[in-house]
Symmetry: C2
Subunit: 316 residues, 2 copies
């Protein structure tokens, strides 16, 4: 089992990436090989200070970096020697089994969609994000920006993908799926939500609990919150901004500290044939470690195989 | 000048409504007559404890109340003697100049759309809500649920309506208008936001500052935040829920106390020919007082006239 890591992605790369890899090795003695992708010289220099077990990793040199502000499609096309481009090349050609980066989010999305295939039957892959709930657990919000415009069947598929992730990675038994909406009652909503509701209701693969409103997003009325990527993106960034405000106001509260999204490591791209994890731009060592753990767990329990089985039969 | 008030709407009516009316009279000696609509006996009983100047109000008896959980259209049709139905009747027939209620929000929306006319040229009236910004001021979010599905021109009109309210009622000079979106750059967004952007950009009646993201909603990047009512409703209810969490966690912070939306009194229906203010279900006296003040201010400065002038010429 080989997991590729973009060592150049994120504001504190490659140092924090190296420290994250070291922390992962220290914590978990698993049959997994890490493939460190990036500037070989820089990576080696950091490994001198944060030694890694030689037999558990390899380095693949990448002479370029896609910067945070670059246009994703253009950058991926023009920077073929970048760590992200090489990362997806290794993944697509089977030289790695998963890929992780805290670099340019757009480039990671484009790479996920065009370098590797979606799982057969998946119309549109999706990106999820965690929501810190008041009871101390995490909810999962899908989609958070990969799909700004959706058809009802897309939401229905996000529900299945999110459900499987919540069950097998977040360890929810029979996760509750809620449709993000502007009212609780069946029949409420914009045209998309109104049309998606009956699909979700009839979907035997999920535990649909009905509509959820904005006030339910930080509660446990549902475990998986489904919406199109426009609303999901606004929700996620609004929630992230709460943490910044809390810090600026010197509020130190256990729950609101959980709005520090950096600690969750990264968000999964769901529906593509191999695990891809997109990290937060300001990822530190613990974020890298957590991303590797999630990718490892996705491979260990064969989440991709479970998703494939769900999409073999029609979903409704 | 006559302002109608539904005395039966809200969880603490009619007591808190009477107290709010008393507070308004005590605070402002303006040439305005208040028309108190509701159960005459109950209202009079409360006035005994909270005396009102006899020459400044009248009571119009309403024998029915539309409860919070009732179906708006059905209730308005069947309960012709309800305070909300009578309130809109008085408004539509010119017996009052504005109408305020903290009752059934749906019934207030339906009444606004069907009892009184939209201003000529306004395709869809909208409902705005306040957003507490970190700098201590309030932003305005339009739409927050009246229009779940929108066309680009609807958003363009919400921008004008919100702008005029922000300028004349919230006292912003040349209010900045932002388009709620999932990215900052022009060209980002779902199909609706992409199509609305050029309309807003070319709109000479507003001060368009471009796209704003979820993280900007509680900041002063814009004063008026424009989006369709689906996303707006989710944003509003998520923000409202933050206050509940803050209280439950015993956080007493000046800024987060401003997430108590009750204090803002109510939200305006914009684009209809007369001022209508919809209050929060848990309105107390101060909320009623503030709603009357806003309705009074809208009449005093002739906001309706200003809106009419803006919609005489084509907006783009």
């Amino acid at each position: 089992m080989k997991i590729g890591i973009d060592m150049m992605g994120g504001d504190f790369a490659p140092l924090e990436a190296v420290k994250g890899v070291a922390a992962f090795f220290a914590e978990l003695d698993a049959p997994v090989q890490l493939v460190l992708i990036g500037d070989e010289e820089q990576i080696k220099a950091h490994i001198l200070n944060h030694p890694l077990p030689a037999e558990r990793y390899s380095i693949v040199h990448a002479s370029q970096v896609i910067e945070m502000h670059e246009h994703p499609t253009k950058a991926l096309k023009e920077k073929k020697e970048s760590s992200i481009a090489i990362g997806f090349y290794l993944l697509a050609t089977g030289k790695t089994d998963a890929f992780i980066s805290a670099g340019n989010t757009g480039a990671m999305m484009v790479g996920s969609l065009f370098s590797i295939k979606p799982i057969e039957g998946v119309l549109r892959p999706t990106i999820g994000a965690y929501l810190p709930r008041e009871d101390g657990t995490l909810g999962l919000l899908v989609d958070v920006g990969l799909n700004a415009d959706c058809k009802p069947e897309n939401l229905n598929q996000f529900a299945i993908l999110g459900s499987l992730f919540a069950q097998h990675i977040l360890n929810f038994e029979n996760p509750k799926v809620g449709l993000v909406n502007l009212g609780e009652e069946e029949g409420k909503g914009n045209l998309l939500a109104q049309a998606a509701y009956p699909l979700l209701k009839q979907n035997a693969l999920i535990n649909f609990v009905g509509n959820v409103e904005g006030r339910d997003l930080l509660q446990n009325k549902a475990d998986v919150f489904v919406c199109e990527g426009f609303t999901g993106n606004v929700i996620l960034k609004l929630a992230e901004s709460i943490y910044d405000i809390v810090k600026r106001r010197n509020i130190d509260d256990e729950h609101f500290n959980r709005f520090n999204f950096e600690q969750y490591g990264g968000v999964p791209v769901l529906g593509v044939s191999k695990p891809v994890i997109i990290g937060h731009g300001i990822s530190h060592a613990i974020a890298f470690k957590n991303m590797i753990r999630i990718a490892y767990r996705m491979l260990e329990i064969d989440l991709m195989g479970k998703i494939k089985s769900s999409f073999v039969a029609p979903t409704t």
